[in-house]
């Protein structure tokens, strides 16, 4: 059996983690773990080395852009898709400059999420 692609979800909102997990699992991906802030994400990334990370921007302790930088410094091949509500264009641009693969806008649209994740994994 072909092994599933492993994804880590980073978001401080339980609602958003739950909705995103549902979408990714229906798309045939394995959600290997969830992290609730940037620090948590950084620690779990090193341990688990998922194939892709979905990274919320606005989080307590360490925000998504900072966590992205840490992860990409450790692993320059890391695939990170940024997640945010509308109105965070500046931070999105900063994240893309720091190596984010793409971004997804909240609220989640199932098709858009799967299309974005699929395209990033093909790169």
């Amino acid at each position: 059996m072909e092994e599933k692609i492993r994804i880590m979800i980073v978001d401080d909102s339980k609602t958003s983690r739950k909705l995103l997990r549902g979408i990714l699992e229906r798309g045939g991906y394995e959600v290997v773990c969830e992290a609730v802030d940037g620090e948590d994400a950084w620690g779990k990334y090193r341990e688990i080395r998922p194939d892709l990370v979905t990274m919320d921007i606005t989080m307590p302790k360490m925000d998504g852009v900072e966590a992205l930088s840490m992860i990409r410094k450790e692993d320059p091949t890391a695939r990170v898709v940024m997640i945010s509500a509308s109105g965070q264009r500046e931070k999105m641009t900063m994240a893309i400059r720091r190596g984010a693969s793409d971004f997804i806008t909240k609220p989640f649209d199932e098709k858009k999420v799967l299309a974005t994740v699929g395209a990033v994994l093909e790169e």
């Binding site: 401080d12 909102s13 339980k14 609602t15 958003s16 739950k18 909705l19 549902g22 606005t58 989080m59 307590p60 945010s84 509500a85 509308s86 109105g87 965070q88 264009r89 806008t105 909240k106 609220p107 649209d109 098709k111 858009k112």
Partner: protein, 293 residues
């Protein structure tokens, strides 16, 4: 939508009972097609184009039809035609009221005019409300001191209508001394001072809103409800600030929080507006943050 607004007016003034109203609203429910679905079934847009517009609405606080014209998928004439086919929400509602023998055409006309005066709407605003733009009620529903909250409250309300309940509608806002007692979630929109808006529970509306958004059946007002409400507020405020940024005004969105006293507020700036989601109320409270010295 207009059925609810007018229906509530009729209940309040004793012209119909609450039971009669729910019956009428049930008959009206879904009698109107969504504009996107109609455009596709009429062969004017492809499903992919309709979907693209739906996605665009996640980033822009604008109507489907207006975005479709802007993207060049519909001509203004086609949009007009479609809206005619879709049917005026007011016509749908008046048809039911008259058919059910609840009001005669004349009585309905009079009731509508009384409502317009009572709600402080201009005839033009009433026309927009009849076409379904309930956020146009807001200026008339807000006290004098709170008029400048209308754009933000309008975006929040439109987002509730688009993402949670297309029949959601506002009530009359009032100035208040402090935030409500019930559970609530706040978010600050900051720019040399700024604004804070808040969703607070009232009669189950917050739980309804959170449940629809999180796709969950909530039975008590727990952390999960507040988390979903906070994410919802964040999406609505995000649409508001991205609209402003296109006009060259930049605001920063803080993290949603349950903290009531996180900011120094401008005294006397709190305004509380009831919002009805699936017929149950929550409170949208807005206030100004004092400029930091």
């Amino acid at each position: 939508m207009i059925g609810y607004v007018l229906g509530n007016y009729l209940v309040r003034t004793g012209k119909i009972t609450r039971e009669a109203l729910s019956d009428i609203l049930r008959k009206m429910e879904d009698s109107r097609a969504q504009l996107g679905a109609l455009a596709v079934s009429e062969g004017l847009m492809t499903p992919a184009q309709a979907e693209e517009i739906n996605l665009l609405q996640a980033e822009r606080d604008a109507y489907f039809g207006d975005l479709a014209v802007e993207e060049g998928y519909l001509t203004p004439e086609q949009l007009k035609e479609l809206m005619k086919k879709q049917g005026d929400p007011y016509l749908c509602c008046s048809k039911v009221l008259i058919q059910e023998g609840i009001l005669s055409e004349r009585e309905l006309g009079e009731a509508l005019e009384e409502m317009r005066k009572e709600e402080g709407l201009t005839p033009e605003q009433l026309e927009e409300v009849k076409r379904g733009a309930v956020e146009k009620l807001l200026p008339g529903f807000l006290p004098e001191e709170a008029q400048d909250y209308a754009p933000l409250a309008g975006t929040v309300l439109r987002t509730v209508i688009r993402l949670a309940d297309r029949n959601a509608y506002p009530g009359r806002g009032e100035m208040c001394e402090r935030f409500p007692e019930r559970r609530q979630v706040h978010q600050a929109l900051v720019f040399d001072g700024g604004l804070v808006d808040c969703f607070a529970e009232e009669e189950g509306g917050l739980m309804e809103l959170a449940g629809i958004f999180a796709q969950e059946e909530f039975t008590d007002l727990n952390e999960d409800v507040m988390d979903a409400a906070g994410e919802f507020l964040n999406c609505a405020n995000g649409l508001y600030i991205s609209g402003l940024s296109r006009k060259g005004v930049f605001l920063e969105l803080k993290m949603p929080s349950a903290e009531r006293s996180a900011h120094d507020l401008v005294p006397g700036s709190l305004c509380s507006i009831p919002v009805y989601v699936r017929g149950r109320s929550l409170r949208l409270v807005l206030a100004k943050i004092a400029e930091e010295l």
